[in-house]
Amino acid sequence: MTGPLLKVDNLRISLAGDGATYSAVENVSFEIGRGEAFGLVGESGCGKSITALAVMGLLRRPLSLGGGRIVLDGKEIQDASAAEMRRLRGKRIAMIFQEPMTALNPLSPVGKQIAEMFVLHEGMGWNEAMDRAEDALRQVRVPSPERRIKDYPHQLSGGMRQRVMIAIALACGPDLLVADEPTTALDVTVQAEIIDLMAELCAAKGTAILMISHDLGLVANMCKRVAVMYAGRIVESQAAEAIFATPSHPYTRGLVDSLPRLGERSKRGRQRLREISGVVPSIAAYPAGCRFNPRCPSVTEVCREVVPEATPLPAEGLVRCHHHG
């Protein structure tokens, strides 16, 4: 068992609409090692969530896989049949979503939704599976799990529902947990608890995490490596500390500088926030060359014409910018 757990290689995702086909994601490559937490960061519409869906084999029209390879544990899964993917999902790779209320079945008690995992993937009988479900709820620290397994999702708070989602996702001890904005719908104090819980359980089970978020701070705190996406492409990837300390792409630098950071004002007084000018382009009007060029402070002619190649950074990082170095 060598090599990365997940390898996404030159992924392209096509979006069909208005009689044309667009590339919603292109040339996206990354690797996640066993037990590693990897973060994918970007703004809404940058393609991070559909990259996660592609890994799960859940792309549906108008989205489709336009090319590239997705390799799980040495086995290509991008062309796997629906039945094969169903066996993988839940067992080897699992996903939690932003809004637990819409991801859980409102008509089924939460205990049953967890137990289902053991019945489907491990061939367990329902009685035994319900006992295991109670254990799973205890592990995600839901108080009084023996009573809560009979509760329906609407009887639980947002944080408790997300705990149930985590229990379902980790029930069969998957190799990879895909977490798409798992705490965006939650309050900050609850977010801190859920992140701690996820990190702790995954570390204990040796589960790798693909964490998707718009919150650079959150991802950098939790993950070892971070990739930043902009308009369908990865523009930079680095170790988490390096993303903040030495952001190399003008977009990443802009994001890091534009956020008011706690404690800054005490140290240096109120400075005007650095703005990133302009707006995120729409998929139908992606600019040629580097897609960040209309907003970039150091734009030159070459940026408008040529797509920048990846330049390696220390510690297996990379940046796609003509003006790096």
């Binding site: 104090t189 801190a192 956020l259 404690g263 005490s266 005007r272 707006v279």
Partner: protein
Amino acid sequence: MAEPLLSLDDLAVHFKIGNALGGGIKTLKAVDGVTLDVKPGECLGLVGESGCGKSTLALAIMGLLPPTRGTIGVDGQEISGSKAPDRMRMARTVQMVFQDPYASLNPRQTVRRTLADPLRLHGVRDKAEVEARVMDMMAKVGLRPEQADRYPHEFSGGQRQRIGIARALILKPKLVLCDEPVSALDVSIRAQIINLLLELKDELGLAYIMISHDLGVVEHVSDRVAVMYLGRIVEQGGWQEIFENPRHPYTRALIAAIPDPFHRAAISAKAKARGEIASALNPPPGCHFHPRCPLKADICVSQDPVLAAVAEGHRAACHFRDRVS
């Protein structure tokens, strides 16, 4: 000392929930005894998690919800009770900027009409003057004159929020309530709007109440900060006092929960709150925060802590306010 522009005295907004036949009527104390001042030209940050009563408080100040108890004074006039000034007068003093710039603009009105209607309603008859003031306001918020005849759907989120800000300022109010003004915007756009709000505050001498769950934003913009929990203010003081020397365990928990790799872990993991906010329908007795508090003792269950001074202009409602550090 300047007269306060806004003064709340023991303000409470309660809602009756349920009906007499099915289970009885309960009282939801959304805002419960809030005493607060805002001086002219000052920015008060109002912080708390969902359900703490921030938005109810804002609606009461706008005159859109009648107080159950207590008084609201705006610019020397009491706005609740029988002698309340009319809505028209209120509108010229207090305005609001909403969270969602997609939902808070009329989709069938051009920018010009959105900005000109309030002027006409408030007695500006001269067409040339209306036009001049609309153009002036558009320039102030960074919109171009030729954009006046466009509809909201033709703008990006950040530009729509600029329209929302222009609408709030067109009647030259003295106090603007900003309810999560950047949380619905793309991360790379937020700095633009925060800078704009601060520039307008200085230029026009505005006072703000900045409601936000993003403590980085609150620290950046606020002169003073008030922290709410389950309808009550648990701590208030100057921004530096609140962020560098928080005395309420809830304030400390909020700060500790922020995932910021640059924020030195001055406040340990022990400061984190456990569990989730209780229901306002059935708040815990004594200090509402006690079930989640790391410092909980018997007195916290039996007695309400009062909001008492810990330093000049800094007050905290905690039995252990002098021991928290």
